[in-house]
Amino acid sequence: MREIALHILDIAENSITAGADQVIIQINEDLKNDLLQINILDNGKGMDADTVEKITDPFITSRTTRKVGLGIPFFKAAAEACDGCFNIESQPGVGTDVSVSFKHSHIDRMPLGNLTSTFLSLLIGAPDIHWVFEHKVNGNTFIFDDQPLKEALDGLALTEPAVLKYIRETFEEGINTLYHADQITLDPIS
């Protein structure tokens, strides 16, 4: 996977599998501290410490026993290769918090990628979950909470073409505005 957004999708899929009914995805780009921080918080069934250890180690996780992301060890390795870290806090019956950080300017850091596409996949594919997406760039914040939107729709499907367009554009504009808020150059390499 060559985008952080794809890894986020993969982690959030685990939250769906874990039976979460609320998932919060936070992305914080803090250029002053040269940090890219990602949190995925769910209220799914959670895991005990043993399981957490197993799923983060690619040599212990066997192909036949895995129920959650094969992608976790890869995401962890990617973060650690970029002076970052990867951490899972989980509690059975409470939920799971996955937090990942990267050195923002690290030459090996994957691009964030298509966040709109990742979020639409989650929102449309698992409509019964309450999704919250929060993206910060240097203190400017774009928050997308799907609850008011679903209330306004009052049962109308998210896949209604005009609704899809509305959500997609809200996302694209919201994220775009973040990057153009104060003329910062996001990627110092390019």
């Binding site: 990742t118 996949s121 609704v163």
Partner: protein, 122 residues
């Protein structure tokens, strides 16, 4: 930061959509399921799903439900797309690229013809 688009816009969209739905005969929902396990995502399932959502917008398809599913045990066929038309069996397609997904929507979902060359045994 407040949202650029307002919920009032969305409520208008809702009313228009409901009016349209009332005009149409109730023919039942068509279901499209995309495999979104790790293997599916790594194989490009998100781009396939993106193509499907774009087609819904482009062709103005009102009667479609899109769902995602986890790994269904057909790793080598990911990305996998399944189509269920009302009162018909579930059809499973394998190694579905965005272009193939667009074709499946046009032929199978809109016209009702199964795209046999992309179909896999399940």
């Amino acid at each position: 930061m407040t949202s650029l688009k307002s919920l009032d816009d969305l409520k208008r969209i809702r009313e228009e959509a409901l009016k349209k739905q009332q005009l149409k005969e109730n023919s039942g929902k068509k279901e499209i399921i995309v495999g979104m396990g790790t293997v599916g995502i790594a194989a490009g399932a998100r781009e396939t799903l993106k193509a499907i959502l774009e087609m819904i917008e482009l062709e103005d398809l009102n009667d479609i439900v899109v769902r995602q599913t986890g790994n269904i045990g057909l790793d080598s066929f990911e990305p996998i797309v399944q189509v269920v038309l009302p009162d018909e069996d579930k059809i499973t397609y394998g190694n579905v690229t965005p272009d193939m997904a667009r074709e499946i929507i046009k032929k199978h979902v809109i016209q009702g013809e199964i795209v046999k060359e992309y179909q896999i045994e399940k």
